[in-house]
């Protein structure tokens, strides 16, 4: 019955028109194509003839007003016709497009877009989300997938630390199983799955994608903490004699091209103690339910590298002198810096030291470098007051925090181990005397 006339785009990109003059008024009869209204746009002033015969029912924009293109300019009561203001919706088989609507605007050649059905927002799946930040060519990634290797686990020996296809091959031939079986026969319950926590947007916040190195670290930490039953034991060590030993030896060392820090002494003391306490240099093989006590001593040195936490591995620490250890520590540091660290330099540790000295603090609960069973955090070495023979004196003191896996290591063993380390560090002469 009523026809709503929408102001069309009468000039190639015009968005609105000003009503200059109505040739008819509400209530007037109007014939088909009879001049109806004059509209002024940026481009032209044009006269619009009536698209219908009937009576002017409603004028929505008066003279001088601006009508946006697409708005209903005027409603005409048409005799004997069904209402038709809405666009004609046409069923659209796959390849044909809709019929034009009453205003001559062709609907886009859409396929089966029935009016009124809300669009389904497709879920965006970011394929890189679960990947660690690994550098590798597309081809290498494909090989990794084909070989069913989690490429984020493979240390890269290529340029810039890239994982190469050779790295993949070495990984499968010599390294740990590619992916830890989801359900193992171990007694250990790994509650890693829980309902994901949603953080509501409440106020001023920054959102950073959780992926890459950060995510990898998170996964490793979770796995360690939820598998090994951690306990921590802290002891204070009087390093006064060690300090003077080192200070005396620094120059000698430098003459031999050795940069002598305290770390080599720590390594030596720990290795000596591990020999006495073999259950701390061990791992649990969950696939065979065996405790593996290792007779090789590869000490992991955890430190904050340029890209985050890095654990370098000082292999066969029991076969190196203090100077040898010092050199090796330097070599490993350089290798990490230059991106030339090999797989052996980065994996295979049996026990780990975490240098926390720079951070200050007196105690920590380090997380074990899984699947090892022990990690020693070394705190700041500094002068503090101590009581010796009833007197308060200034001594060089340092705390050691050791975290151990209680499944394999009893409290007694763990404490005694650390006491042995303390003894050696407090009286370095003992290290000399126990050496073979």
């Amino acid at each position: 019955m009523s026809f709503s006339f929408h102001l069309p785009d009468i000039g190639e990109g015009v968005i609105e028109g000003e009503v200059v003059q109505w040739k008819v008024a509400e209530g007037d009869k109007i014939a088909l194509d009879q001049p109806m209204v004059e509209i002024m746009t940026d481009k032209a002033t044009v006269e619009i003839p009536s698209p219908r015969a009937g009576t002017i029912a409603k004028i929505n924009f008066a003279e001088g007003e601006i009508c946006p293109v697409g708005d209903v300019l005027v409603v005409i009561a048409v005799e004997g016709e069904a209402a038709e203001s809405a666009p004609v919706a046409a069923p659209a088989p796959a390849k044909t497009s809709k019929a034009p609507n009453g205003n001559g605007h062709h609907a886009p050649a859409a396929v089966s877009n029935v009016a009124g059905v809300p669009a389904v927002v497709p879920e965006v799946i970011d394929a890189t989300a679960t990947r660690g930040r690994v550098l590798a060519t597309p081809a290498t990634r494909r090989h990794a997938r084909a070989m069913q290797i989690d490429i984020t686990k493979v240390p890269g020996t290529g340029r810039n630390g890239r994982v190469t296809t050779d790295d993949l091959k070495n990984w499968t031939s010599g390294g740990a199983p590619a992916a830890a079986p989801a359900t193992s026969s171990s007694m250990v319950h790994v509650p890693q799955q829980h309902t994901p926590v949603a953080i509501e947007r409440v106020g001023n916040e920054e959102r950073i994608p959780f992926r890459g190195m950060r995510r990898r670290i998170a996964e490793n930490m979770s796995r360690s903490k939820f598998t090994a039953t951690h306990f921590t034991y802290v002891e204070e060590v009087d390093c006064t004699d060690l300090v003077s030993l080192r200070n005396r030896s620094k120059e000698r060392a430098a003459e031999r091209g050795v940069k002598l820090t305290y770390l080599p002494f720590f390594v030596k003391a720990i290795v000596a103690s591990l020999k006495k306490w073999p259950q701390l240099n061990a791992s649990l093989d969950e696939s065979t339910n065996e405790i593996v006590r290792k007779h090789y001593y590869h000490i992991g040195l955890a430190a904050q590298g340029p890209h985050g936490l890095v654990v370098t591995v000082l292999r066969n620490a029991d076969q190196l002198s203090i100077f040898g250890i010092a050199n090796e520590i330097q070599r490993l540091a350089d290798a990490v810096q230059s991106g030339t660290a090999t797989r052996d330099d980065l994996t295979g540790s049996t026990f780990t030291i975490s240098s926390l000295g720079k951070l200050g603090g007196v105690m920590a609960t380090p997380i074990i470098n899984f699947p090892e069973v022990g990690i020693v955090g070394v705190h700041k070495l500094e002068q503090r007051p101590a009581v010796r023979d009833g007197e308060i004196v200034a001594r060089w003191l340092m705390n050691l925090s050791i975290s151990l896996d209680h499944r394999l290591v009893d409290g007694w063993d763990g404490a005694m181990f650390l006491q042995d380390v303390k003894t050696l560090l407090e009286d370095p002469n003992l290290m000399f005397m126990e050496m073979i």
Binding site: T137, P138, A139, T140, R141, R142, R159
Partner: protein, 324 residues
């Protein structure tokens, strides 16, 4: 089988088709009596007459514009643009008219015009006798672009172009007009359009090019071979539509590619090839695809050979893909 160079092969193709198709006509500047500045139409004026081998006024727009009219009417015109550097006065006729006639007429008015034009540098031609504008036409929907690199393909592909009904820009690598020689059958034969050719098989790196770059690519492949690097070479031959399948099959095998063209690098056809190959073969890539191209400068005169890709640059790019 006789040996021909590209000029002779083109001439032969034109002669064969002029004989077979009475509606075919050749037109352009100096193509008639003179036989063309490169002699590509030599002898045809005498054989087929001035009405069919037509010397036109000096006007590229007129040559192409009237050729379009002729084709609309049912003639098979083969206009020559003397140097592709001079195609630009006819650019509007090619882009807005020739390429769109079939489309805008709903198929009622196909426009079978085959434009022949020498392109490329290396003949000490400077800015205006050395350009490689192929990408502007590849980017114009409705026109095919064909570039032979050797006499056999030149004759066979030109005959294919002359026997199909779409507009074609047939670009002839003038630098090797005479230098490229090979066995060419005297009889009538065609080479399929839209198909690239693997001209050398290899395992480690795919080298892709067309026209006058093929000898450069082959030279680089040979040098690489001496250094123990095995290269596969592909001659694109048709640039629109291009044979992506052949390129992808090769790069899937080798994992590395170098694209070579003398046209300026930025927004050159190499970019399209790299993007298209990556879309299909990304997961096989060991290194980014390299492009060895002309500089983004007008084509120089004295520094011409430094400007154009040479075997050393291609070899450098090969090594880059291996050492990446």
């Amino acid at each position: 089988m006789p040996t021909m160079n590209i000029i002779q092969a083109v001439n032969d193709a034109l002669r064969i088709q002029m004989t077979a198709e009475s509606k075919m006509v050749i037109l352009g500047e100096d193509v008639g009596k003179f036989g063309g500045v490169f002699r590509a139409t030599s002898g045809l004026h005498d054989e087929f007459g001035a009405d069919r081998v037509i010397d036109t006024p000096l006007s590229e727009a007129g040559i192409i514009g009237t050729a379009i009219g002729m084709a609309l009417y049912g003639v098979r015109p083969v206009p020559e643009i003397q140097f592709s550097d001079f195609i630009f006065p006819a650019f509007d006729q090619i882009v807005n008219e020739l390429a769109k006639f079939r489309y805008r007429s709903g198929g009622q008015y196909p426009c079978p015009v085959v434009i022949r034009t020498p392109y490329g540098g290396g003949i000490r031609g400077g800015h205006y006798h050395s350009q490689s504008p192929e990408v502007m036409f590849i980017h114009t929907p409705g026109i095919k672009v064909v570039i032979p690199s050797n006499p056999y393909d030149a004759k066979g592909m030109l005959l294919s172009c002359l026997r199909q009904d779409d507009p074609v820009l047939f670009m002839e690598p003038k630098r090797i007009y005479r230098a490229s020689r090979g066995e060419v059958p005297t009889e009538d034969y065609t080479v399929e359009l839209g198909k690239a050719k693997v001209t050398r098989e290899g395992e480690q790196v795919t080298l892709i090019g067309y026209g006058a770059m093929m000898p450069i690519i082959h030279e680089a492949a040979k040098k690489a071979d001496e250094q123990g690097i095995s290269c596969e070479c592909i001659d694109l031959r048709t640039l629109m539509p291009f044979d992506l399948e052949t390129m992808v099959a090769s790069v899937t095998k080798t994992g590395r590619a170098v694209v070579v063209h003398e046209a300026p690098k930025t927004a050159g056809f190499g970019g399209e090839l790299v993007a298209s190959i990556c879309e299909r073969a990304m997961q096989h890539l060991e290194a980014p695809i390299q492009r060895v191209c002309g500089f983004d400068t007008p084509f120089p005169y004295v520094l011409e050979h430094e400007y154009m890709p040479n075997a050393n640059r291609v070899l450098g790019a090969i090594r880059q893909t291996l050492e990446w």
